[in-house]
Every structure is written in structure tokens, then in C-alpha cells.
């Protein structure tokens, strides 16, 4: 299968295989994305985050269906946790998106967090670019949003929808942990349940404390299961987008995002170089042993590693 040609012809198999290659860290995948990078930048990226079970997949499904009615092409990347013990995962988000499976204008991909160093972030960045090149108008990223790697992924989005449910409880913890700063729009899902208005008011009060910028995230009650409030939610997404562009904060965000990505890739490549260097010289283990024996302190050990690395790089040229 010629993957690049397939991707450009909008062959879903090619896109799917390329995403796998990216997940598995194959350099050939990076090469293809390099060659097609000029085609990226069309898609709007929407992050959907919130605690497990709040209805993220249902919201994504309903948003996608609404946008499909307007003729938009939709990509969805749904992230679920990988078991740290077995490396396996049950990726169950598609259960809520069954009718989208056979829609030619939709591509859904489930991903495990896999837990490797920077692995998830790199894979999701890659998948977003692949779906962008594919020609999607909107790309949704659904993730639980706990743990640094997942928060980093959410930051990849142009607009982040934080999904919550009535009867906060657990969510209060999340708010304390600084999650409040991530959302551009707060959607109180399952507003068919008691206490939805109170929860919305509580979130508003939290925003009074936590958000000082000019942009004030709106709080919206929705019932995703019954499609309630979905059109309004899309309107808020568009409003946020307009604000971001008018205020110039999109430009800033994008530049920060690209910086973070480049530095991520750079860090990753340094780490890989250092590890492969150490495969020959065993320098990492030797330095660790010296720190163990108190012959070295950790700071000096890191300095030595840096010296070795620079020396190693100099020999390359």
C-alpha cells in the first residue's frame, strides 16, 4: 500500500495505517507528514475533556452529527487509558458513536495512552495532522484530561469544552487541581438531572475566582443524550473562535503550541540520542552507579552526561 498516495486520495485505510505508524514511532510516518505538512492548517481542533462517564463521547457524537448536517467532514480521536500493568486497554468510546461508523465524512480513531515517554502526545499530534491533511474540517480530541500528558493534549485544541455533570463532588477536586483554567466552554451535561442549575452557578462562582482574562468562558446546560443544547454549544464554539481571532489570542496560542511541539520533539530526539549513545558506552549506568556510591552528586552526573553528549555530537560532523 502506498500510504502517502492513499492519504492524498482520501483513503481511510491509508490514514488509519499512518496513524498506527505514528503511534508505533516509525520514522517513515514522520517522513510522510513532513512531505505533506504544507497541507495542514485547515481543520479546527476541538478538545473534549472531563471526568470519566460525564458524557464526553455522547457530546462528541452529537456535535459531529450536527456538523455533518452542515456538510462538514469530521475526524475524531478518542483517548482512553492504557493499563500500566499489562499495557493493554479497552477503548470503548465508539460505543456512543455507532451511527457515525459508516458515514463517509467521518473518521474515528481510538487510542490508548500507552504511557511511553512523550509517546501519546506525539501520536495525537501526528494523528491530528494526518486527519487535517486528509481534509477534515473539524477534529475532535476526546480525553479524560487527567495527568500531564493528557492535559498537554487538550492544549493542542483551538477550543476546549470541559464537560461536567450535576452534583459536582469529585469534580470539585478537579477544579482545585487547576482544571478550571483549561476550559474555554463549560458544558454541564446530564442537565435532565436534579441540581444542574446549581452546578452551573457553582462553576460560574469558580470562574470568578480562577479566570481573570478578558475572555470569560460561558457555562451551558446541555442534555447530550437527547441532543439538548448541542446547536447552542456549536454556536459557543464559533463565538470562542471568533474571539480568539479578533483578540489575537489565537496567534499567541498557536505560537506557544508550536513552540511546545518543537521543544517536545527536540527533547525526545535528545533523549533517544543519549540512550543510544549509552547503549555503546553504558555511560548512564556508570554515572548512576557513581551517584549511588556517593562519588558523584546527581547534578554533576547530569553535567557529565551533557559533556559526553556534546562530545558525541561533535564527532558526528
Amino acid at each position: 500500500m502506498d500510504i502517502k498516495a492513499g492519504l492524498l486520495k482520501k483513503d481511510k485505510r491509508a490514514a488509519a495505517r499512518l496513524i498506527s505508524m505514528m503511534e508505533n514511532g516509525e520514522s517513515e510516518a514522520v517522513q510522510i507528514i513532513k512531505e505533506c505538512y504544507g497541507m495542514t492548517g485547515h481543520a479546527r481542533i476541538i478538545g473534549i475533556t472531563g471526568a470519566p462517564g460525564v458524557g464526553k463521547s455522547t457530546v462528541t457524537d452529537k456535535l459531529a452529527k450536527q456538523l455533518r448536517k452542515e456538510g462538514k467532514q469530521i475526524g475524531i480521536i478518542a483517548v482512553d487509558p492504557t493499563s500500566p500493568f499489562t499495557g493493554g486497554a479497552i477503548l470503548g468510546d465508539r460505543v456512543r458513536m455507532t451511527d457515525l461508523n459508516t458515514d463517509p465524512g467521518v473518521f474515528i480513531r481510538s487510542m490508548g495512552t500507552r504511557g511511553a515517554l512523550g509517546g501519546l502526545s506525539k501520536a495525537v499530534h501526528g494523528a491530528v495532522k494526518i486527519l487535517d491533511i486528509f481534509g477534515m474540517d473539524y477534529i475532535f480530541i476526546e480525553t479524560v484530561g487527567v495527568g500531564q500528558s493528557e492535559i498537554d493534549i487538550v492544549k493542542l485544541a483551538d477550543t476546549v469544552i470541559m464537560v461536567m455533570v450535576p452534583g459536582l463532588g469529585d469534580d470539585i477536586q478537579a477544579i482545585k487541581a487547576g482544571i478550571m483554567e483549561i476550559g474555554d466552554i463549560f458544558a454541564v451535561n446530564k442537565s435532565d438531572r436534579d441540581g444542574a442549575d446549581r452546578t452551573a452557578a457553582e462553576i460560574e462562582a469558580m470562574l470568578d475566582f480562577n479566570r481573570s482574562e478578558e475572555y470569560r468562558p460561558p457555562v451551558l446546560n446541555i442534555i447530550a443524550r437527547d441532543n439538548g443544547g448541542i446547536e447552542e454549544l456549536i454556536r459557543l464554539v464559533e463565538e470562542h473562535w471568533e474571539y480568539e481571532n479578533k483578540s489575537g489570542s489565537y496567534k499567541k496560542k498557536k505560537s506557544n503550541r508550536l513552540k511546545a511541539e518543537v521543544m517536545d520533539i527536540f527533547r525526545d530526539s535528545i533523549m533517544r540520542t543519549v540512550h543510544s549513545m549509552s547503549e555503546n558506552t553504558n555511560i548512564i549506568n556508570e554515572l548512576i552507579q557513581k551517584v549511588m556510591d556517593k562519588q558523584l552528586d546527581p547534578y554533576s552526573a547530569a553535567d557529565r552526561l551533557m559533556d559526553e553528549f556534546t562530545e558525541n555530537q561533535r564527532h558526528k560532523f
Binding site: R13, N24, T82, G88, I90, V95, T98, F107, R109
Partner: protein, 132 residues
């Protein structure tokens, strides 16, 4: 191979028995595989599309309703029609012994009936997936 095997676990047709599919899904996860669980009432077209988008190594279907002779071959044929020949197809559930040879003939690589230890299924998938 250091990448996880990706398996779509699907319930084709109107059959609502999902315990077996969930048991299998968990067992495969515990064996280190990435399981894409689709839920109940999937059409063969939906299963095939899911396998494509998820770039699955294996499609594992569970049927307890008796519709296996119709639905399993349909998925096999749809995949063939799309030119997909590198996906392993297995099935399980309440399936009479007499039906098994016909299903294998139709292109289902393995059938696993009640009482089969999940370790047997895991080994079968590991040993028979077509991509490295």
C-alpha cells in the same frame, strides 16, 4: 513485536448477550492488547468500517443468538470486497459443533465456544495475526 495487537471486539446483529464479549475484551486487554469495543447491535458494514479506521489486526465477533452462519461470513466477505486480507477474523459464542467447519471454510480463522479458556483465544490471536 513491541507494538500492542489491536483487536475490534464486536457484537453483530440484534443479539443482546454481551457478557461473553465483555469477558473476552477484558481478557485480551489483560494480555496486553488494545481492544476497541464497539458495543451491541453492529451491522457487518459498521464492523468492517471500524476495523479499517482503527487499523485492527483482528476482528473478534461474539454471537449467542444463532445468527452466526449468516453474519460471520458477511463480515469476512465485506472485508474481502474491500481488498483487506491482513485482518484475522475470529468468532465465539453459542455455536453448534456442526456449524464450525462451514464457518472456517467461509474464512473465519477460529471459533471459540463456551468453556474455552480465554488463554486459548489469546494464544490463537497472538500466533495468527497477519501483520508483524
Amino acid at each position: 513485536m513491541d507494538r500492542p495487537i489491536r483487536v475490534v471486539v464486536a457484537k453483530p446483529g440484534l443479539d443482546g448477550h454481551d457478557r461473553g464479549a465483555k469477558v473476552v475484551a477484558r481478557a485480551l486487554r489483560d494480555a496486553g492488547m488494545e481492544v476497541i469495543y464497539t458495543g451491541l447491535r453492529q451491522t457487518p458494514e459498521q464492523i468492517v468500517e471500524t476495523a479499517i479506521q482503527e487499523d485492527a489486526d483482528c476482528v473478534a465477533m461474539s454471537i449467542l443468538s444463532g445468527a452466526h452462519n449468516h453474519l460471520f461470513p458477511k463480515v469476512v466477505n465485506l472485508l474481502k470486497e474491500k481488498g483487506i486480507d491482513d485482518v484475522l477474523i475470529v468468532g465465539g459464542g453459542v455455536i453448534p459443533e456442526d456449524d464450525i467447519p462451514g464457518l472456517i471454510e467461509a474464512g473465519v480463522a477460529g471459533i471459540f465456544t463456551p468453556g474455552t479458556p480465554t488463554s486459548v483465544t489469546i494464544d490463537f490471536i497472538r500466533n495468527n495475526i497477519k501483520r508483524k
